[in-house]
């Protein structure tokens, strides 16, 4: 039990923070109800996938600066393919875009492994490449999304046997998010591959000497990151109905949420749940600040300050917790 708390303490704390913020929101705006929660989840959706994409790579000991650009490219690809096409055609578009994300992500990994250039530089270069490709696909925001795709994140999912009052708090977007993440993350976490990803993030040399195929694992980690980013891109197209070739603020947000979520930037530590809760916390803070009618520019300052403060606090705890003299 104590072990559970030690491992999950950070996530539990985050969750408590989320609940506290939620109560605060209720206090600020007594009318804050299930509908607003639904729109919060819809706003979180692309961020959550961006965070998932970043988390996988960071756990494997890397970093992916191209997440936002990848989302932009997959989003415009989906939007321009679905533009003027039939509803059924979207059934083909979705897997195609997901496969594209997987392949482009794997390409990131292959480039890192083959060229031996630091990951931060490779993904910086692919950031430019993907951004350029997005501009080539769609010069200006445009395109369209199939109606059923747009409808799949609006409203709530009726669950038989649940009273409507509880059902109202289960937006379709949340279900979609949980299903998409679980379908990939849970089998991964329990497989040998998942263990290998943690191993190369923890110590590449030790992993190599224990017979972990380091290069292959790294490529797969980046491929998964690309897959999550493609989901994020699709989520963007689903929620806006169009594709925009200019990447949104997802890179910074993803790195912030990963760190807030208790995933060490050095790799090998943390899980997916923490960062996802963290991204909810960050969005809810923004909602609260908007509800308090604070200047949106001040909101940016507060968000940045929270991020820096929490990260400093986390780092401080880590230093205190370590035996004296055992510096990294």
């Amino acid at each position: 039990m104590t072990r559970f708390f030690r491992n999950q303490g950070w996530v539990a704390g985050l969750f408590a923070l989320f609940l506290a913020l939620f109560v605060l929101t209720k206090l600020i705006q007594p009318g804050y109800g299930s509908g607003d929660f639904g729109s919060l989840v819809r706003a979180v959706l692309p961020y959550a996938f961006a965070v998932a994409a970043q988390t996988v790579v960071v756990i494997a000991g890397g970093i992916d600066l191209s997440v936002a650009a990848m989302m932009a490219l997959t989003s415009v690809t989906a939007a321009s393919m679905m533009n003027g096409a039939s509803e059924e055609y979207a059934l083909f578009v979705v897997p195609f875009v997901l496969a594209m994300g997987l392949v482009l992500g794997a390409l990131n990994g292959i480039l890192i492994v083959v060229t031996r250039v630091p990951d931060i530089v490779v993904t910086l270069a692919t950031l430019f490449v993907l951004q350029g490709a997005a501009l080539l696909v769609l010069g200006a925001p445009g395109g369209a999304a199939a109606e059923w795709l747009k409808a799949s994140i609006v409203g709530t999912l009726p669950i038989p046997g649940l009273p409507d009052s509880i059902d109202a708090w289960v937006p379709k977007a949340l279900v979609l998010l949980v299903v998409c993440l679980c379908i990939i993350w849970i089998p991964l976490r329990r497989s040998k591959l998942g263990l290998s990803i943690y191993a190369i993030g923890s110590s590449e040399l030790a992993a190599f000497r224990s017979g972990v195929p380091v290069a292959r694992t790294r490529i797969i980690a980046y491929a998964l990151s690309g897959l999550f980013a493609a989901m994020g891109g699709l989520a963007l197209t689903m929620s806006t109905g169009i594709g925009a070739p200019i990447p949104g603020p997802y890179l910074l947000a993803s790195v912030a949420a990963v760190v807030l979520g208790g995933v060490a930037l050095g790799g090998g530590k943390g899980g997916l749940l923490g960062p996802i809760v963290a991204v909810f916390v960050l969005r809810l803070v923004r909602t609260d600040l908007t509800l308090l009618a604070i200047d949106p520019n001040v909101t940016a300052i507060i968000e940045g300050a929270i991020m820096v403060a929490v990260v400093m606090f986390g780092a401080f705890i880590t230093i205190r917790g370590r035996p004296a003299g055992a510096m990294p």
Partner: protein, 328 residues
């Protein structure tokens, strides 16, 4: 190689060239720079003249100074992504305060946020041991927010570019850009600091093996704090220079220079993991990137294709450079 020791055969020409380049890492960079200029001259005969060279140097200098910030922070294994925001802040504050204040006061006011952000960065990285990437991203977020709030307060007073900065940024004397008057002493100072002073040695030592440096009595946090303050100050000065060149104060003035500044330092042979590199390579890296941008503009490709090529070339150059230098 043992075979060459037992049999004194003449080493093949290719090998000798490679070894020569590995010993003098600047040579391949200069060759690449000349190659790019030659390609430019072939594509557009007559473009390479005095005016073009002066122009290229003018645009390369702000990039080179920012890349200097990256070089120094990268030597310690860090990175400073707040340089863009710092440069923008000092430029914007200078342009708006000069309307009502004495130039010296305006200059001091413009440098204030730079020192402050540098100090916060340094304390966060050095004392609290936050990852530099996160720390500098966070402070740049806060800085941008502050700048937006500040913009509201000065929106009525208008902005102007001081004549002196105009002269420094765009002026020519006997065909030489005046900006060189600022850059040459600055570059000499940086190179001298890195190569010949104790502080420079400390940067290399901390980046090469932090533990060893610490055990031999280096006060880590003092070195890091000083480093980030210096980096921020340099970024602030760059902002002033850049506003004289661009002549249009905006809230995203120097932001597009951030990622290229990292690329320039990496192309120039500074290791992003710390402990290896120098400023002379970075200057040539900045020149290469500036010429490359001109080249891509002249090819009249769509914006998207230009970004793709930029990313690919940065990646290729870095990979090739690592291949050459590391084969010893």
């Amino acid at each position: 190689m043992s075979s060459s020791a037992t049999m004194p055969q003449p080493v093949s020409f290719g090998r000798r060239v490679k070894r020569f380049m590995a010993d003098r890492p600047l040579v391949p960079l200069i060759i690449l720079l000349i190659l790019l200029v030659v390609i430019l001259q072939i594509l557009r005969p007559g473009i390479v003249n005095e005016r073009w060279i002066a122009n290229t140097i003018k645009f390369a200098i702000p990039l080179a100074i920012l890349a200097g910030c990256q070089t120094m922070t990268m030597l310690t294994g860090g990175i400073d992504l707040s340089v863009g925001t710092v440069a923008t802040m000092s430029a914007f504050i200078m342009a708006t305060q000069i309307v009502s204040q004495d130039p010296v006061v305006a200059f001091l006011l413009a440098m204030m946020p730079a020192v402050l952000i540098g100090l916060i960065n340094g304390i966060g990285v050095g004392v609290f041991r936050v990852h530099p990437l996160i720390m500098t991203l966070g402070t740049s977020l806060i800085g941008t927010g502050c700048l937006q709030v500040y913009q509201r307060t000065v929106i009525a007073s208008g902005a102007k570019i001081p004549d002196f900065l105009n002269w420094l940024g765009t002026g020519l004397t006997y065909g030489f850009p005046n900006a060189l008057l600022l850059f040459v002493p600055l570059a000499v100072l940086i190179v001298f600091t890195l190569r010949r002073t104790g502080f420079g040695r400390l940067l290399y030592a901390v980046g090469d093996n932090e533990r060893a440096a610490r055990l031999s009595g280096v006060r880590y946090w003092q070195v890091i704090t000083a480093l980030y303050v210096i980096s921020s100050l340099l970024a602030g000065i760059t902002g002033l220079l850049y506003i004289g060149l661009i002549k249009a104060p905006s809230l995203s003035l120097a932001e597009p220079l951030v990622l290229p500044s990292v690329a320039a330092a990496v192309i120039g042979g500074t290791s992003i993991f710390g402990g290896r590199g120098g400023y002379t390579g970075t200057i040539i890296g900045a020149l290469i990137l500036t010429v490359l941008t001109t080249l891509l503009t002249i090819l009249q490709m769509p914006e998207g294709a230009r970004r793709i090529l930029f990313g690919l070339i940065v990646l290729f150059v870095t990979a090739a450079y690592l291949r050459i230098v590391e084969e010893r």
